[in-house]
């Protein structure tokens, strides 16, 4: 288990970052990470592949997806517009903070599968092959989703300059 501690502990901040970017809520993101770590501990010796990082992100991602499904089936939206703004960019200057919030808000408007690819590749530095493993899709699909995600985010950023930055209309259900 020492081995596990050494390999997994340094990755927890990245897991939190990914969970936070998906959930946009500190408490539910950390709950997800905790759940992920508990599963990792119980399955550590059943892990077949060497790459711990991709394995952990796979567990976390699957938990996030089932969370989204549950929320969707309850007709709830993911808590995008209830984000506590203080959760992001606390260390940054105020205007920098607004810019950061703005891009995260725009990111949140992307479809969930595109958002996941973009975060895994561009923020978490997973290889395309590892991202494919995490998402359970072929590498070709990773590339096409990545392309769509970037294109769409670019349109959001370029077209959305005039839109209010801290009001989000992401409610899918009601």
């Amino acid at each position: 288990m020492d081995d596990m501690l050494h390999q997994v502990e340094p990755l927890i901040p990245a897991l939190r970052r990914y969970a936070r970017a998906l959930m946009r809520d500190r408490a539910s993101a950390d709950d997800l990470v905790q759940d992920c770590l508990e599963r990792a501990v119980s399955r550590w010796y059943q892990r077949r592949d060497g790459e711990v990082r991709a394995w952990l992100f796979t567990i976390l991602h699957n938990l996030a997806v089932s969370q989204f499904r549950k929320a969707a089936s309850r007709g709830q939206h993911v808590a995008i517009d209830e984000t506590n703004e203080g959760h992001f960019g606390e260390a940054a200057a105020q205007e920098q903070k607004l810019i950061y919030q703005d891009v995260l808000t725009k990111l949140a408007r992307l479809p969930e599968d595109q958002r996941a690819v973009l975060l895994l590749v561009a923020v978490e530095d997973l290889s395309y092959a590892d991202a494919a493993k995490v998402l359970g899709i072929p590498v070709g699909t990773v590339m096409s989703r990545l392309s769509r995600a970037r294109e769409r985010l670019r349109q959001e950023i370029e077209g959305g300059a005039a839109a209010p930055t801290n009001v989000v209309s992401m409610r899918s259900g009601k």
Binding site: L5, I12, A21, L37, L104, V123, S127
Partner: protein, 257 residues
């Protein structure tokens, strides 16, 4: 010069800094010649930087207590196990070499006893450990069913040894045939892919209680013993002393029923 055509994938890999230097140079040259593509790629790179910067503070926050991994591991360890511990265990860790266990010590009592058990373990190891397709019939993820299966066939409660503390994780197991009836075989590997096998079966009246006895052949070492009518054997290529520690762990768990 004959360049491979630039693909959309290349452009993304350029943004993600995932290209080999040579290809990176080719893409850069292409972008120099195609300003409208370059504009798009610059926007993508900007997004990437912005997202990374926006999310960086999250990874710098101190971890809350609930995410303290040492605590999570500790609370898991305290959870009682659901099965009784009765194991027939032979850990066979060896490379090929058709057999010939040399048993040291005083147990050459009968060919039906520990000697036979060790030979059976070797035979199973030789067949299954080098198998890259299906070394085990039931994987570790189906441990509960595996335990149920072999316990039923051995008419003994069998529990899979947990060798995590010794650095070996369970791959799975199977029932194997021996001239003394069915035996349960469990296979493990460590982080380097070295496999060990644990084989266990009832001793059927011979060597019902036998002390742990070392065995060795070439670079293959192992141990066999029996407790209350159940025989165990463990073999591997690791140094005998480290295998002894693993064997002791198996015996300890088997006795803690």
């Amino acid at each position: 010069m004959n360049h491979r055509p630039i693909t959309e994938d290349d452009l993304h890999a350029y943004v993600d800094q995932a290209l080999a230097p040579e290809r990176r140079g080719e893409v850069a040259a292409y972008l120099d010649d195609h300003p409208e593509v370059a504009e798009r790629i610059t926007a993508f790179a900007g997004q990437r930087d912005l997202l990374r910067a926006a999310l960086a503070p999250v990874a710098e926050e101190p971890l809350p207590a609930a995410l303290n991994l040492a605590h999570i591991i500790e609370s898991r360890r305290r959870r009682p196990s659901r099965f009784g511990w009765a194991i027939a265990a032979m850990l066979l860790l060896s490379i090929g070499g058709a057999g010939g266990w040399i048993m040291h010590g005083a147990l050459q009592t009968s060919p039906g006893g520990l000697v036979a058990l060790a030979q059976e373990a070797t035979a199973s190891y030789d067949v299954y450990a080098p198998d890259h397709v299906r070394p085990v019939e039931m994987r570790a993820s189906d441990t509960a069913q595996l335990v149920q299966w072999v316990s039923g066939r051995l008419h003994q409660p069998v529990k899979v040894p947990d060798l995590a503390t010794s650095g070996y994780r369970l791959m799975g197991g199977r029932l194997v045939a021996t001239t003394h009836g069915p035996a349960a075989m469990f296979m493990y590997d460590d982080d380097h892919g070295s496999r060990i096998v644990v084989l266990t079966r009832p001793m059927n009246g011979t060597d019902e209680d036998a002390p742990m006895t070392p065995q060795a052949k070439g670079d293959v070492a192992g141990f066999a013993w029996a407790d209350s009518g159940i025989g165990y054997s463990l073999v591997g290529q690791a140094p005998a002393e480290s295998l002894r520690a693993v064997a002791n762990e198996v015996r300890k768990q088997a006795r803690a029923i």
